[in-house]
Amino acid sequence: MRYEAPKTLEQALALLAGANGKARVLAGGTDLLIQMRSGRADPELVVDIKAIAEMRSIAVDAGSYRVGAALSCMELIENDAFASTWPGIVDGAKYIGSIQVKGRATLGGNLCNASPAADGVPALIAAGALACIAGPQGRREVPVEEFVTGPGKTLLAPGELVVSLLLPRRAPHSGDAYLRFTPRTEMDIAVVGAAVNLTLDDRGICSHARVSLGAVAARALLVPEAAAALIGTKVDAAVLARLSAAASAACRPIDDKRGTKEFRIKVAGVMAERSGKIALERAGRYD
């Protein structure tokens, strides 16, 4: 196995293009090294993207954040300006493993690993984030909800990689939140996750909302019906109950050792409702 740490995106793309699909991109390595150890991954070339400045940085341009795909979760969590703008995305980043794991793990890697239970993904979907992709054919941007195509599968073509995650400009009176259900409080995998992102107008009426659920289908879901329950309302108790029902109705879960279908469907509604309450409270504070 060969290791390269290119300093530019162009060099990284050239290395990937020359490897005939036998290369893997290394960001934090918290999934890749485990796969290599177990034999599930056996790359001939590892391309470490952490020396590429664009992929390692977080930038804000006209109110729109661009999070480099190789930025560690701890670096993201510690960015106070980002955390006050997108607290729900930071909720998700905080759940990605221990302090040690977050010191290396990245949101870009969490997305590319394509676990249905990835904690970093639902809040990105709710935020309306785009995955900025570069490859042999140039650059393209894809909504995060379309990026994962199934467990462990993404729409990345050979030679492509995720450069950054691009967030939309934040309107005043906006808030987001992500909650998950796990038997333990830390170091666990989501049985169900729910993210709500909403914006209120000057009269306190919800003008924009997006809702996403994790671990209740083969990939994290965008749930427009749940968002529709919020839009045009003052997000009172009855509205939150409709949000909860719409979230439960959207679930297509499996039974596994972490939870049954019936349990996941019920809990998805509860988590969505609670996330909605937190997002609402945060929207009241965000100007």
């Binding site: 290791y3 485990i34 221990s98 040690q100 830390e186």
Partner: protein
């Protein structure tokens, strides 16, 4: 296949080693540099026994390739005491009997120091949350948490 030449800093000393590309930082520390204080527990980032600092960031050395250490600054348990003088955390772990078999201890000490460097006055809940990635199968954690809180108190001068 030729081995990789890595030049890095460990506990303030400039060091060089040769490693296979597949080798983790943990393996290089233990097998190439003979710094065996850092332990392997699970090898998958779940137990924290291999915790070290890399450029001031707490990480699992089992989840990092040794070649990634090029030009970095690594801190391990071997650099924690100053000569014969133990770090307050090390002394408090002995005082509180916060270890039994000792395999998890180096990682917990490194993680606890990282916490106290950021937050000299953590609550018990903050200590437990910060150390959630460090598993101990002997003590039940109470003595570990007591030792960290006591060390924090002493380091604050109280």
């Amino acid at each position: 296949m030729s081995r990789n030449h890595v030049s890095t800093t460990v506990n303030g000393d400039q060091v060089e080693f040769l490693c296979e590309t597949e080798q983790t930082l943990l393996e290089a520390l233990r097998d190439e540099l003979r710094l065996t204080g850092t332990k392997e527990g699970c090898g998958t980032g779940d137990c924290g026994a291999c915790s070290v600092m890399v450029d001031g960031r707490l990480v699992c050395s089992c989840l990092m390739l040794a070649v990634e250490a090029k030009g970095k600054s690594i801190e391990t348990i071997e650099g924690m005491a100053e000569g014969e003088a133990l770090h307050p955390l090390q002394r408090k772990f002995i005082e509180h009997a916060a270890l039994q078999c000792g395999i998890c201890t180096p990682g917990i000490l490194i993680a606890a120091r990282a916490l106290l460097d950021r937050n000299p006055d953590p609550s018990e809940a903050e200590v437990r949350l910060w150390l959630a990635g460090n598993l101990c199968r002997c003590t039940g954690y109470h003595k570990i948490v007591d030792a960290v809180l006591d060390a924090a108190r002493e380091m604050r001068g109280g």
